[in-house]
Symmetry: D2
Subunit: 338 residues, 4 copies
Amino acid sequence: MLVVMSNSATEKDIQRVAMFLEAKGFEARISHGEVRVVVHAIGVKEEVDQRDFELLPGVLEVIKVTTSYKLAARVSQGQDTIVEVNGVKFGDKYTGLIAGPCTIESYDQMDKTAQELSESNVKILRGGAFKPRTSPYTFQGLGEEGLKVIRSVADNHNMAVTSEIMDISQIEMFMRYVDILQIGARNMQNFNLLKELGKIHKPVILKRGLSATYEEWLMSAEYIMSGGNNQVILCERGIRTFEKYTRNTLDLSAIPVIKKLSHLPIIVDPSHATGLRDKVEPMSRAAVAAGCDGLIIEVHHNPEVAVCDGAQSLYPWQYDLLYKQIKQIAPIVGKEIV
Amino acid sequence: MLVVMSNSATEKDIQRVAMFLEAKGFEARISHGEVRVVVHAIGVKEEVDQRDFELLPGVLEVIKVTTSYKLAARVSQGQDTIVEVNGVKFGDKYTGLIAGPCTIESYDQMDKTAQELSESNVKILRGGAFKPRTSPYTFQGLGEEGLKVIRSVADNHNMAVTSEIMDISQIEMFMRYVDILQIGARNMQNFNLLKELGKIHKPVILKRGLSATYEEWLMSAEYIMSGGNNQVILCERGIRTFEKYTRNTLDLSAIPVIKKLSHLPIIVDPSHATGLRDKVEPMSRAAVAAGCDGLIIEVHHNPEVAVCDGAQSLYPWQYDLLYKQIKQIAPIVGKEIV
Amino acid sequence: MLVVMSNSATEKDIQRVAMFLEAKGFEARISHGEVRVVVHAIGVKEEVDQRDFELLPGVLEVIKVTTSYKLAARVSQGQDTIVEVNGVKFGDKYTGLIAGPCTIESYDQMDKTAQELSESNVKILRGGAFKPRTSPYTFQGLGEEGLKVIRSVADNHNMAVTSEIMDISQIEMFMRYVDILQIGARNMQNFNLLKELGKIHKPVILKRGLSATYEEWLMSAEYIMSGGNNQVILCERGIRTFEKYTRNTLDLSAIPVIKKLSHLPIIVDPSHATGLRDKVEPMSRAAVAAGCDGLIIEVHHNPEVAVCDGAQSLYPWQYDLLYKQIKQIAPIVGKEIV
Amino acid sequence: MLVVMSNSATEKDIQRVAMFLEAKGFEARISHGEVRVVVHAIGVKEEVDQRDFELLPGVLEVIKVTTSYKLAARVSQGQDTIVEVNGVKFGDKYTGLIAGPCTIESYDQMDKTAQELSESNVKILRGGAFKPRTSPYTFQGLGEEGLKVIRSVADNHNMAVTSEIMDISQIEMFMRYVDILQIGARNMQNFNLLKELGKIHKPVILKRGLSATYEEWLMSAEYIMSGGNNQVILCERGIRTFEKYTRNTLDLSAIPVIKKLSHLPIIVDPSHATGLRDKVEPMSRAAVAAGCDGLIIEVHHNPEVAVCDGAQSLYPWQYDLLYKQIKQIAPIVGKEIV
């Protein structure tokens, strides 16, 4: 930690900071610059709140120089984490693909969609059984019945399954039906849930919260990893900004940044980010060109009758076209779609 | 719902929209303006997604004209909701006060703080037993032991208790110790938790999410109310913006806006919003001057040794001074502090 | 400047940073912490771009510890700046008031409004002659004719005049008619204009840009002050956030923050911030309760027929009522309205 | 314009709205829905402020259904605008490239950079002579001398020139040296400057303001076009959000959105958006994959000694590599780099 003193700090102010630091267990090292004095606090104390120092007389600013995430940090391991499910790889030089409808509506809907997707080489099927809806008056998902449907359909097409979990009480149920558990943006800081998912042995897709910084996102991954589960896939799905024309603002810069800060794979959800089908294709191609480790895309065999989020779902033929485009883009940026 | 057609929409486009609306169960009424045609969809269908219409050829924009919150809406009842706990009232012409430390650390700490606060007429004590911390490596609260402490201390000083609940599994425990349950900003859209709190018979403080719009916030209140619990207190605690000098940006305009849209009381948490003690006082006074229905303020008998968020906690003497100031401001704006 | 090295930085990386710093004219002082090494760059070089160091191998982060604003900084002078115009004071313990319509429409309109305002003790009249409008197809103001009108009306009522300047070419004209020049939010970083206003001898109201940080705002004040004009009044008028219900989000925390960072007076424009009349009153009271040094409020003798922004203009009787309320609030927070 | 009445609006409220609309010159058409009444205002009146209606009793919301930009709107012409300079085309199926240093430092620097860039087929050279710097104490550019340098160097390498103009007084000078005028983000709403650039006969690159919505951006283009200059190129360069790790958040969704709303070409500046060299390459590729009409990229023959923004400048060999990648990506998305 670095405590930067203000121009007008007195010698007494500096000594007070040093003493206060030592009382908290740090070694205090004072460095005089041309304009400012900086006190370097040597030591790592998780519980220290830097604002306690900001309030001391003569202090201008306090800067933390240790990151709070450790296991998720790039420096913690020599190479990129690769998560592999059903032969699909996410991370390092691999770009994995996941597709399926927003919501599990019926066996027939899932089967038709899966049939079409399997022709485009999709090996991981997505679909929501428990839906976090802003309004209590809208469809909340089929529940366990939905999980049974997606499992059965996926088995028939040799696919793996991913679906969103909303509550700790659902973990046991999800372990029976699902291969990759998803944590939605609204639950990115549901710390009790994260801790429990640290104890399971299945991969977790952790979506970025609507207004979460990169650091907070990695800290949430750390919650899972510190419990013993290293199979975390980060998923950028748009952030909230002043621009309301698109549902959210897809932050593709997250790709190179996360790859610098962490060894974890980062995938992109262009469907929730943009909210409209005609934006999904260009943004998917852009994500691959930026070097993402995967995509999760909403596809419905007949979006016009979809119960939920049909407007952002691709038609299967659109997905197929997109698949062919990104297969060409990936090798240009040194990636492989398997 | 209103479907606004673009300048270049053809007669066929307009007819397609009308037919599509009728297929969804609406009556379609077409109105020709000087530049644009507007199709008014008569009827209310919760499940209709307006984006399905935005994607039809010739459509410029689709506008929902019904609000999704009903019970929380001002029009749903003739007068302001007043929540009363231990003689303290929130809502209508009353401004209620809640104070206490961020975290329950020990019996001694709670007792000393409560003793000082009772001298400033505080009748509702706050304190966290389960803490939602960004990092898994920091103190996570005393848990049930903490709830026992705050209950016991509050009883000794004739105070009521409020504390933050983080998970459905804790409801039964909280019902034993706590008079008002708090939902933190990170859980504002933990819909499963909201639904369960709709079934209890105690007031709930619902904090605004870091990037929640007014409408989403009221929709979350609606989740609780639709379960049968009308005792919801909304709490503004700052939103996330580009400005990082303060921890969050306290949005005091929420006060007059929420009072226009809803009958529910709105209180303000200046401690979490600003994150620094010297900003808590001016922002508390500002909130009262803007007509808020209450304040929840962090106070610690000795902030310098607080385990958590000491930097934003007032000293008891500061709280007392602030109390005297807001007692003077309230009547100027037609409010009463009881 | 502080260069924080990453965990994985080698001794060679550290030496490279030190050498690079010395090449740029700094003295490099290396400090070894428990986890990280920090290199303290001693010296002040305006032209150095900290990102040049961020790109060096092994560097985690680079932190500037000198603020770029000097004359605007609190430490640059012993006491608060007080700007006085026509007996009205802004700054230190004084809260000054400015009122008038958004736009100068006619002599009759200005005269009627000024007549009413003079009865509420207003001594500085506002009104726009050149309007920065988002659309080229809307009314752009009366121009110089408007300035003549406001000057003449103000003289008749013993008032001073403030109006917004948009371009360097207008300075000479404004010097003839106006007592305080306003720089609008869109021009906060029109550096050529700021430089020229540094050469005049009249006070300048500098509105905060829609997405300007506190530091950028103070840097813009520095542009004016470094030219020799110290009479700068900062004006908070709302920032752009994700919340669109209000026109902008009024950031009242700016008041205590700016008062900590700078000696310059800070006033608030609640009319542009909220955009609706019924929000102007509570936010004006809140601003005074938070300790602002002044208010600039839109008032029109007949808002319903106002050419521009009538919706956010108070009726004169509303202004009078508000004036009476804030006269009572100011002394509670140690301020005086003169 | 559509006036949506609240649930509790009375018949009298509805009639008042209708009368008020007619007084403003509209025809009022009342439509009764299941829950709400909507009044459709027939007619187009530029000067009407919708908030005047929002304040009437019983009104819930007022919605404008006409866009304010007309010439910039897609419907205003049958096909995409193509801007062509020195054989480089922007728009429709063409992706044009611009490269060069942030700042013109010397003849030698420009010549070396241009020499390298010409080997990568660059035909339009960028370089700033007047720099909008946040601090008054940093290098402000070489001024006219800089324009002479870039013109002369460009002529030697058969290149065209683009540079940023900051003030109306510079227009005549820029017309002598520059082929494409740039308007920086801070000047996007400098309406006086926009109006003057409407009168010239050279293309203008209009950068998006840091917090400008798509609509405001197109309205600023409209200012230029309404003066008679149709050669406007829009440039996305990142917006300001809560995420501070990158300098700005590059909003690539702007590409498909602008292409839907307007016929004008849209290019991307990945250098200013991200602020760091290692993010420029992935974001450039992403922009091309999303279908942009051009890129403007900072390249310096020796970034480590650049006076300004060296950290975000590519080395010439990096540019060359990037050029080869995007040449491959463009045809996959139906574009051509000429």
